[in-house]
Amino acid sequence: MLFKLSVNNMKKSVKDYTVYFCTLIVGVAVFYVFNAIQSQTVMMDITKNTREIIEMMESMLSGVSVLVAVILGFLIIYATRFLIRRRNREFGLYMLLGMSKRKISMILFGETFLIGLISLGVGLLLGVCASQFMSILVARMFQADMTKFTFVFSKDACIQTIAYFCLMYLIVIVFNTVMVSRYQLIDLLRFDKKSEKVRMKNPWICTIVFLISAAMLGYAYYSVTGGFKEIARNGIYTSIILGAVSTFFIFWSLSGLILKIVMSVKGIYYRGLNSFILRQFASKINTMVASMTIICLMLFVTICVLSSALSMNHSMNANISELAPVDVQLMKHRNLDESWIKQGYTKEEIQNSRSGLFEEYKQDGLNLDQYLDEYVTFNIYATDDLTLGDMLGSSLEEIRMVYSALQYDTAELIMTVSDYNRVASLYGKQTYTLDQDEYMVIANYETMMELRDRSLKKGEKIKVFGHSLKPKYETCRDGFVEMMASHANMGIVIVPDQVVDEDYVEYESITGNYRSKDKEKAEATFRKAIKEKADLNYISTSRLEILENSVGLGAMVVFIGMYLGIIFLISCAAILALKELSESADNVERYDMLRKIGTDEKMISGALFKQIGIFFLFPLILACIHSYFGIQFCTKLLETLGNEKMMQSVLETAGIIVLIYGGYFLITYLCSKNMIQNK
């Protein structure tokens, strides 16, 4: 009997539930899809390296899943409580008829159980289908063959999804039971008799609060962008808290101000249904300030996460051709002394580091020409006499104040100008000439370049191997020597050839291109030929490796970004949609009244559209403004990883938001319209 009541209640309130239900289904599906990625790749033909990356990605994604589960849990609890509150009269009636609270709890339990069961079932089904498409996406990202299509079902992901969602529903049931036990019959029956009190806020207080919070927000914006260096010391948290608090007060004060301002413009206020729309807006925003703040902040996080993730992926792919211009780079750590044992080096390795890489190969009878088409050998020197601190010279103290974490006593890397020129011409970069008493700095990590430029501009002289040198250029020159996936060359000092002391070689390197066109095969044979050693003092990098790593990292970042972004988006859009739908249900009478005094249908649906539109747009606009600065901060933060194609990433993010958020808006509008017309 109780179960029948539950079923009938669900059927009856299906309109209220639709949006919530769809959100749950999408949530379950997304949860499954992202947790099933690993299983999807089992059948693919990918390298061991890529598989390791995917495994790492999977473990990170399951970590993120906990966060996602918490967010979805909050959404579910919020939504059920909200939907139940709307049915207070119904429960009041049950109690009036003598139903015990325990039985009411049972009805709610039945409903939650039903919703849970259906949403899990449909969501998993949808998820399994969607994850087949996901395989195609994953395959494309990792450039794997998808010649044969196999239908994959991930048992682990399925169990994980069911476990997480069952836990959430259990919590909801506990919450509901507690809520029902607190019910007072009189409150339930008188629930909607309360007339709405409209409290106008004092416009002066609103103005002052608005100005103060705008100033606070401005300061937060400044400190995350313009005053970036301040952040390094104070931490970003102050700005985040400041931003969140001022967001709340901006909504609070604007709700009062907008009404006041528009009301004073009689021509607009008394046109059509404007006065009605604005009053509706004002009467609700008082109660919606808190949720709008949360939605605005969630949207802000979504925009930043999504666009940064996409831009990282773009730039990683773009960086490869620039930062890994040749096929392979071998390096050997040279001239190690006993102190390196502490760093995990063995005695043999230290002994081995005395001999050069090139000679070693010669001794082994290895003819490099056989494998490598064009290659260069070069040395990198280092001496404790020239540290980063020495380089910065008189600017050191002032820089140390801001960047206290930098290691100022590490030895600088030094190269001769002719060695560098050979590398540069192999890389297709500009070559340089230096006079006897000149030096220059090559770097591509922007923050470090800025620091170094300060002392270069002053013409700071340095002492290296007994020679005194002055800077040739006032700024660092763009360039790098070690191949890597990002702009992370902190600086290499280029000096005239005769300055260096051969006893201070720190690294010896052979860098070049394979002879064969089939790079993968060439790499395998070359690795075999050089008997690649696991010794710590050998470092080898190849273009293929960097490519795989950065594609993997890019994919990981994109997946995590998408995962979080989509969940955040659907959560806040669902909250808004539910709120607006219930508002519309409450407003049926008001719209009906408008109709009775002869308002056009067009005008009425226009008013509804504007009313819902404002509520969706308001948090979005502020979130966009936040994001404008937030993305700048992210760009700085992720500088080493590159920020190419930021514009494209932002546009892609906008597309996703328009699609999901706009979709929710449209559904809300259409459902509301249906609701107010059905009376």
Partner: protein, 254 residues
């Protein structure tokens, strides 16, 4: 006198062939300009259905309703809305004021949905408020007003568009006797100033303020009396006589 409203053999059926209810059964009457007509009848006699048909909220099954030369049974969709907001004024039993708007804004809304320029709105709202004596509640919200004040605000909203006909559905139904009297006196003065009013009520006292009372029983026209030269008390007694004839239900409501 010009005829504002003309009902011609209107019928309204509910239900189907096997179970037919005639809510209105060939009712015909006319309302002249500047008349104050009350329609009386017991619960279920069809008076509200009649008002709904005149106000175009409901549709008649047969017959014609002509308001100021327009046959409103032939109007459709937005024509109906347009007719309603331009030619008719409404006063409801439960006021139907928007609780989010002040009294002033509630009255102004009737004009702004007709796209009247904002400049004219102020003067017209103040004028209507003066006619009904509600100048001092204009800035209040409905929840801050008494029932009588709310109903007079609703009346101001109904007359501000200068409608051909004001329709009132049990306007005193939710009011105490003092507020009811004040409202009805306002109606009298509005009527004297030239407003045509058609009011539905089951209360003989309320009906006694009208210049003519039409009685309906079981969907049919039962009787009609005019006030003529009588004062209100005499007219009230006449109404009571008819009500007694009509049957018990109505007098119960007295």
């Amino acid at each position: 006198m010009k005829t504002v409203l003309q009902l011609d053999q209107i019928e309204k059926y509910y239900g189907n062939r096997s179970n037919l209810t005639k809510a209105l059964d060939s009712i015909s009457f006319e309302v002249e300009e500047q008349e104050f007509v009350a329609i009386m009848g017991a619960s279920g006699s069809g008076k509200t259905t009649l008002l709904n048909c005149i106000s175009t909220i409901d549709k008649v099954t047969a017959g014609h309703i002509v308001v100021d030369g327009t046959d409103i049974t032939k109007l459709k969709g937005n024509q109906l809305n347009r007719f309603r907001r331009e030619e008719l004024g409404f006063i409801f039993q439960d006021f139907n004021l928007l609780d989010t708007l002040t009294a002033y804004e509630n009255i102004a809304l009737a004009l702004s949905i007709q796209n009247v320029p904002a400049k004219q709105i102020r003067d017209r709202v103040l004028e209507a408020a003066e006619q009904l004596g509600i100048q001092d509640v204009l800035d209040k919200y409905p929840y801050q007003m008494s029932g009588g004040q709310k109903q007079r605000v609703a009346s101001a909203r109904a007359i501000i568009t200068n409608p051909k006909l004001v329709l009132a559905d049990e306007p005193t139904g939710a009011l105490d006797s003092k507020s009811a009297r004040m409202l009805l006196e306002s109606f009298e003065s509005l009527n004297a100033a030239g407003t045509t009013i058609l009011m539905v009520t089951h209360d003989s006292f309320t009906a006694s303020y009208a210049s003519r009372v039409i009685f309906i029983k079981d969907g049919k026209l039962f009787h009609e009396i005019r006030r003529g030269a009588d004062n209100r008390k005499q007219f009230f007694d006449k109404i009571i006589d008819v009500v007694t004839l009509l049957g018990g239900d109505v007098s119960d409501a007295l």
